[in-house]
Symmetry: D2
Subunit: 230 residues, 4 copies
């Protein structure tokens, strides 16, 4: 069995050149370290370091520069895709939403033989850090979006850290945040479950043919033309 490849997309608003560290990266590091110990190969892309124009296609043709196709290709190569997002104003960061919008360009890239979406037989997961509230909303939406691109979500495929209600420290600002037992446990649940799920799917891929279903439905509904993807 080949080595499991994990791609983290860190959707922090802060560039690597910023003064402050990315709190989200701190939690990625914990998960990635655990995955390495399990034998996986991990890679993190800090999205905001690249030029990613707004849009809903894999390539934004009228943009002066578009680094997304590079990230798109890294996604295609990975077995486990982990979206790592800060929370701002209670919902997922603009960079995370931008990433999902660009990922939605994959709707147009179904497999020629099976009609499967590009994340079929890949595994999705989500990591979130915030000050105080919003993790469930961010994770629920993000994991759900990934299933539409074909990802499988294994059990306990998320982890997050949040402080008490109101302003306060962020993850990694002090030792106490780093010692949250729930966050540390779930970080390891995520690591083990995603790696194991990726191995299961590598050995036992989905054989479903979506094109065949589409054609059968079109026929049933009396559509006179053969399968046209919308």
């Amino acid at each position: 069995m080949s080595q499991t490849k994990v791609l983290f997309l860190n959707c922090t608003l802060k560039k690597s050149t910023a003064e402050k560290k990315s709190h989200t990266q701190r939690l990625i590091d914990i998960v990635a370290n655990e995955m390495s110990e399990l034998g996986a190969e991990t890679k993190t892309i800090r999205v905001v370091d690249h030029t990613i124009p707004f849009g809903i296609h894999t390539l934004i043709k009228d943009a002066p520069k578009d680094d997304w196709p590079m990230i798109h290709d890294e996604i295609l190569k990975c077995d486990v895709l982990v979206i790592a997002s800060p929370i701002w104003f209670g919902t997922r960061a603009s960079v995370t939403q931008l990433v999902l919008e660009r990922i939605s360009g994959m709707y147009e890239e179904r497999d020629a033989q099976t009609g499967q979406y590009p994340l079929y037989n890949k595994v999705g997961a989500c990591i979130v850090t915030g000050n105080e509230d919003g993790a469930h909303d961010v994770i629920a939406n993000t994991l759900y979006n990934l299933t539409h691109m074909g990802a499988t979500i294994p059990p306990n495929a998320d982890c997050y850290w949040l402080g008490e209600a109101g302003p306060g420290p962020s993850f990694g600002d002090d030792e106490a945040t780093l010692k949250n037992a729930f966050t540390n446990r779930t970080a390891r649940y995520l690591a083990e479950n995603t790696i194991q799920a990726a191995q299961i799917l590598q050995a036992n891929p989905y054989k479903i043919n979506l094109d065949k279903i589409d054609n059968a439905v079109n026929e049933m509904l009396g559509n006179t033309h053969k399968h046209v993807r919308e």
Copy 2:
């Protein structure tokens, strides 16, 4: 390989004795029919026909009557759990939320050997009907909740129907609603993916030991006591 068992929990607000049909049941029927053709055994429980007190445990001891343990046991027997929900005021129905609250009682029922939650190696899915808006919110939250109980979410594990913005017909009120190509396609995606995922997991169950992780984390954090589940 044994026959795949599918359990639908229909979370409509309407009892079976109500004048009007459950629109949600109409969409369940389409999915269940497809699953039967794929060889699965399906069963639907209309939750509101039973006496389910509010609470967050498997048995509400101070309630005069509690039918939840029966549903709880059906959940334990199934391979695929499908939560079917109407939308009210943009979010999941009160009955759906009640069902999830009662399901959360399973947090206390981890496996004695592995610490796995009761839905490990089961598959989760979600069906939604509404007039006009809210499907993503309902499905995202519901699928995410199920992963915390151990469920795996396969690709394209949801289907829904909604009409145009504003008041209008519900699913099944007229022929046009039943002929929505997207709803019909995704109903079949859901059926095939969940059955296939259940078969994959039956043959290749997760071997992860959550208790072992908990103990390792506790030790790392310097907790002096042995694993105590919170």
Copy 3:
């Protein structure tokens, strides 16, 4: 100016007879106390102590018992309506959702002269307690729902308490939770803003005629019949 009337609907899952106290009531008490000092008359209904069948109308005719009409009438009498909700599994409690579903029956109760919805010139607010996450989601959905019934949402019309990520104490379980500065500040913001907004609206009610708008739109769209409310 007449005394401002405030109605709190406590949507805890626990009946008054339960062993444990309602954490949500603890936060209601702080807000209600502040409002009393500002001269308002406050009243709290613990919804789960009453028999409230599922449904989306003001009276559920085929239910053996329905206490909602009593609560409905209390809502009509108040100037400020505060929905107080626990969080379960990241979203608003089933009892809260049930309350909103029953409130949605007011869609059918527009004013005979103006077509205004029953909460016009009333003020809406939201209080939330939970263990660790979900306050924004609960509050956002709840306040938005209330605006559709006619409520005005003043600035800083919400307050909540949540602990750090993962299991832990609930509001009022220990002194530390009660001393959260953010929760205490925003509880008072809520109290002052809602009372002041209610006084402003009492003296300066909305004069908008929704029926007139509906008729104009129908005419513009070429609908041959006079205003029919959907």
Copy 4:
């Protein structure tokens, strides 16, 4: 009474130079036209035409260019702020989230005398267009965010258009979409309610002093230092 000023922030992903029209602008036009007839002065900024770096402050100092301060000043000048957003993948567009993140910089700009947030005595509203689902989620989060900056949300302060479940036309793609009775009615509800609320608040501003509350809470909690804004 001075003329009511309305600012629309169109958060479409498409620049003005794009081939396709902004569907969101189509719905803005309907609302703005109605507001003009009511005597208001309206202005629309298409956010994506400007250079707005990611961040959570009013000025991003380490960005090569930041046009946000111009938009920030337009927000300060308006009486009614309308966030207009497309839906992508079920939630608010990345540009909308970016706008809210930048607006959150106003947390640091409380009034020197009253501690009020910059949107106090301004009115908030939300317009949404999408293919098929997600309006409630976008609007609920967006209106709620605005109340934290001080905005008041009047009754029926939102309007949206969505088609049936699945791929299909967007708002303005054909005549049928433009003729949705619900969207047309609520567009006018929004226009009349926001203008009327702005006039009410202009004549009767909130007099609440948040700084005084903060100091009282700090004293009560035994904080030894005078008010420190967090």
